[in-house]
């Protein structure tokens, strides 16, 4: 059975990168709707892993059963000039690579400024190594525990750079398993978020979770939720976390 794959080709002429995309018949882009939320600390408050522990306890309080661990890795790439001079100015600098925890065979690329997202077989990373046109600058790991709450799946996690132990952010994924239409699941997920905020508010933590709507239409994505939507949400989430840390 063939799958619909959304392709946005990187058509920047200065990029010497040629991406080979392998169509795998078993790859399904079919996904249930997911919302990503990140922790916004109160002004002046710092991040600490206590918040993470409280969020996990909250999930369990709502009847969640711990289901395992998860990890998503985000790579920031920087362009490598062919010669010793500085790279040309129009080369994209916000090139992100994403390995999603629930898509081990796939690797996602995002160019935020250009609103481009695509996916390729996970072996693309080996090709990137050989091409040496873009190198990984820094890798962030989003990791934590996942919980099953009836028809919901909750993942609470921290964002840490792969080479350090500093906590860069706290975020969570909420998935409503029966639906894959973003519009149809909106109300349910909003109400879940309200219930979640209520439960968490009792712990008097210095901050709160926020859900920022990503503009999927800009990336050419449809109402039917896919892993590329998740990739876009991660990119948005990362930008939010970096902004929160800076301020």
């Amino acid at each position: 059975m063939h799958c619909a794959i959304v392709l946005e080709s990187l058509h920047s002429p200065s990029l010497s990168l040629s991406l080979s995309l392998s169509l795998s018949l078993s790859l399904s882009l079919f996904m249930t709707v997911k919302w990503l939320m990140h922790w916004q600390p109160n002004p002046g408050a710092t991040l600490n892993s206590q918040i993470l522990a409280e969020a996990c306890a909250c999930a369990e309080g709502l009847g969640g059963a711990k289901d395992g661990r998860w990890r998503t890795a985000m790579t920031f790439y920087r362009p490598m000039p062919r010669d010793s001079s500085a790279p040309p100015a129009d080369v994209p600098r916000d090139f992100l690579g994403l390995a999603l925890h629930d898509r081990p065979d796939t690797y996602f690329f995002i160019l935020r400024a250009h609103r481009l997202v695509l996916h390729a077989d996970a072996s693309i990373q080996a090709i990137m190594e050989k091409l040496q046109s873009y190198k990984a600058r820094v890798v962030f790991n989003f990791e934590g525990f996942q919980y099953k709450l009836g028809d919901f799946r909750l993942r609470v996690g921290k964002c840490v750079p792969s080479m350090a132990e500093t906590l860069r952010g706290i975020m969570m994924e909420v998935e409503y398993l029966p639906l894959s239409s973003i519009e149809k699941s909106r109300q349910i997920l909003e109400e879940f978020f309200d219930i979640w905020q209520e439960a968490l508010a009792k712990k008097s933590l210095p901050g709160h979770f926020i859900h920022i709507e990503s503009n999927f239409a800009d990336y050419g994505l449809q109402d039917h939720y896919t892993s590329q939507h998740t990739a876009v949400q991660y990119a948005t989430c990362m930008a939010q976390l970096m902004a929160a840390v800076r301020s």
């Binding site: 079919f30 709502l62 009836g150 028809d151 398993l177 029966p178 239409s181 349910i188 109400e191 219930i195």
Partner: protein, 371 residues
């Protein structure tokens, strides 16, 4: 593969031609089975080397001779999807279709089996003992409501619901009243193909339209094919997929209903299947009750009533509970966060005739008094 049971039955049938069995009784085999021929070594028999010879099921010939398998029973034929004589793969011959149906549904729940048995008994009772009145009260379990219904008059049928009594008319009316719904119909064996295809489809809207529409667009079916429709699929895009099966292909008698997520696919998607999602499981349970209710209170219109009621679930993820005003709520008993999965099905009389109030929705916990 050797089928010793079948062989045994054939042998016995062969012998009985010279010795007719007594009428009115199924004679059990009390004497040992005949000696085996050399090319069938004893250890191939089921049950081991020295297993005592089993009495064995009666062959069709004996059933005819004894009067059990009479021509009228044979002509009933395919009512349970089984052909007469009912020779099962293991060689057993079954006189009573419902018994094998129940045994065959090894995965069926006790509720399903009970329901099947009840239906079989009720059908047979209606057929053989028409002078005994149908006892509707026992189907409910809620005596207060049942009393109210018992005394109510049979009102003129709602025009919108029951304009024509044929399957095609019912589906046409439904499409007219509920424009969002996609109705697809299947012959019984076509459904399993469809169910396994569902698991690999990315988006139900991308299913090859030309193929689907021609095969399963009931409007385009010739009248002969309409008679073979046994499964109706109601797809509310992105919200639910409901599967209704009909008892007797082409009839207007629903006999089972189940709800699934539009994402779900696989062999378990059928009218007696169970969704992997809690919300759809609970809706299916509620739908079972609605189906039984409609069948007992208004059997002639049970299909249009049921289909209409199913369509009211298009607001499953949008309509707040009519009692507490919220969409999502934690059900204390089940410890699950759920939307209002109950829609009332009780028929109330109005100027238009009998109809269910399809405007309300309730959480399980909120619905105990309201329904």
């Amino acid at each position: 593969m050797e089928r010793p049971g079948a062989r045994g039955a054939a042998d016995r049938r062969h012998q009985d031609r010279s010795r007719p069995a007594p009428r009115g009784a199924l004679r059990r085999r009390l004497r040992p089975t005949p000696p085996l021929r050399p090319h069938r070594p004893p250890h191939h028999r089921r049950g081991g080397l020295h297993a005592p010879p089993l009495p064995g099921p009666p062959g069709p010939r004996q059933l005819e001779d004894s009067g059990v398998l009479n021509p009228s029973l044979k002509s009933r034929g395919n009512s349970w999807g089984l052909h007469m004589p009912l020779v099962c793969p293991d060689g057993a011959v079954v006189a009573y279709a419902w018994k094998r149906q129940l045994a065959g549904q090894a995965g069926a729940s006790a509720v399903d089996r009970t329901r099947l048995a009840l239906k079989a008994f009720t059908d047979q009772k209606r057929r053989f003992f028409p002078h005994l009145e149908d006892d509707l009260l026992n189907h409910h379990g809620e005596s207060g409501i049942a009393k109210r219904l018992c005394s109510s008059q049979v009102l003129p049928m709602s025009k919108e619901l029951v304009e024509g009594k044929t399957l095609a008319d019912i589906l046409k009316n439904l499409e007219h009243e509920v424009p969002n719904i996609r109705i697809l119909t299947y012959q019984r064996r076509d459904w399993s193909k469809r169910a396994s295809l569902l698991s690999s489809s990315v988006d139900e809207n991308h299913v090859d339209p030309s193929k689907e529409q021609n095969l399963h667009n009931w409007k385009k079916l010739r009248s002969a094919s309409v008679d073979q429709i046994a499964v109706i699929e109601l797809l509310m895009p992105s919200i639910f997929r409901a599967v209704v099966s009909l008892h007797l292909a082409g009839s207007v008698n629903p006999d089972a209903v189940a709800f699934f997520s539009p994402n779900e696919g696989g062999d378990y998607i059928h009218s007696r299947g169970i969704s992997v999602h809690h919300v759809f499981r609970l809706v299916t349970e509620h739908a079972d009750k609605a189906l039984q209710y409609y069948l007992s209170v208004d059997p002639n219109n049970s299909l249009p009533l049921l289909l209409c009621w199913i369509c009211s679930y298009q607001t499953l993820f949008a309509k707040v509970c009519s009692k507490c005003g919220r969409l999502l709520m934690m059900d204390k008993t089940l410890a699950l966060l759920l939307p209002p999965v109950h829609r009332p099905y009780f028929l109330t009389s109005s100027v238009k005739g009998q109809s269910s109030d399809l405007t309300k929705a309730y959480h399980i916990g909120c619905s105990s008094e309201e329904i």
